[in-house]
Amino acid sequence: MSVAALAEGTAGGRATAGSHGHEDLKRLVVAYGFWIFLISDIIMFAAFFATYAVLTDSTAGGPAGRDLFQIHTVAIETGCLLLSSFFCGLAMIGARFRKSLVFHGAMAVTFALGATFLWLEVHEFAHLVGEGAGPTRSGFLSAFFALIGCHGIHVTAGLLWLLTMMAQVIAKGYRVDILRRLLCFSLFWHTLDIIWVALFSLVYLVGVAR
């Protein structure tokens, strides 16, 4: 057998037998790359968090965390985000088993819970600014608004992405590339919830307990 025929044989073999493996590999590489992005996002949050931790006591005579934080609101926010993470998982199962009702229903619930979270957060920010405890009041409040606001912006982006994914599934169906994007979206959404665990525990609860 000539070298050319051998090369053709292996190339042909890869194209036919490996088409499935290729999609598998692509899913793996894309998800891993997105995972690396999420970890770098966590590192960015750590920088904001370090700033906040350094500035917690720099209240410049203004209100501290225990005077401002409303734990009831934070508890509802936490519940919303945790449940939305759960429903996001259900949506992914719906997509995997091609159950469109489960997928769209769970995605809609995820959106509603995420939007409720965001609404409560905007409400809290407006309340703080109204009380004269806006980000310009002290170093502590600047760091607080930057940290929590950064998470809020991520949630906003996640909600827009969620709607885009619902529309893409309706328009294009459960194609391999759409499922890959869905996997990335679910990773993003679960990671936002993990970051919120750190925020509600170490910013709000420790702030109130001090």
């Binding site: 598998d24 891993y32 995972w35 350094v54 936490t78 993470s85 759960f86 993990i194 420790v206």
Partner: protein, 133 residues
């Protein structure tokens, strides 16, 4: 997707983060994983919120307890929602996460360490104001 799961062994580098196909082949098993995660996370959150307001616990220990509970809950989220486990098939995902955590620790504890020393060695604010006058 079931044939995709079967081909998982052929892929070098194991499973993608968040992929539950190989670990939870049936719909019921997949839902159960998320349900266990939800219950555990709710419990841990509940204990955290309770501890923050409680007077039962020695007050200085509360921040440490809250930190431990938060780390535990993040672990629950990683395992049951993101499906990052210690298994050999997801070792790449875990290594990336471990490196990320190293940077996070350096960033947070390094900043706190340096800044508390600076605060400790700095003149009180009113003394600086007096010197500027």
């Amino acid at each position: 997707m079931s044939e995709l799961a079967a081909a998982d062994d052929d892929v070098p580098g194991g499973t993608a983060p968040g992929d539950e196909d190989s670990a939870y082949p049936t719909l019921g098993a997949a839902v159960r994983s998320y349900l266990i995660g939800l219950i555990l996370a709710t419990l841990l959150s509940g204990v955290s919120f309770y501890l923050a307001r409680s007077t039962l616990v020695w007050a200085p220990s509360i921040p440490i307890a809250l930190t431990v509970l938060a780390i535990a809950q993040m672990g629950v989220h990683l395992v049951f929602f993101l499906h990052i486990t210690a298994g050999s098939e997801s070792v790449n995902n875990l290594m990336a996460l471990a490196f990320g955590l190293l940077i996070v620790m350096l960033l947070v504890f390094g900043s706190l360490w340096i800044m508390t020393h600076l605060n400790h060695n700095m003149l009180p604010m009113d003394a600086i104001m007096r010197m500027q006058r």
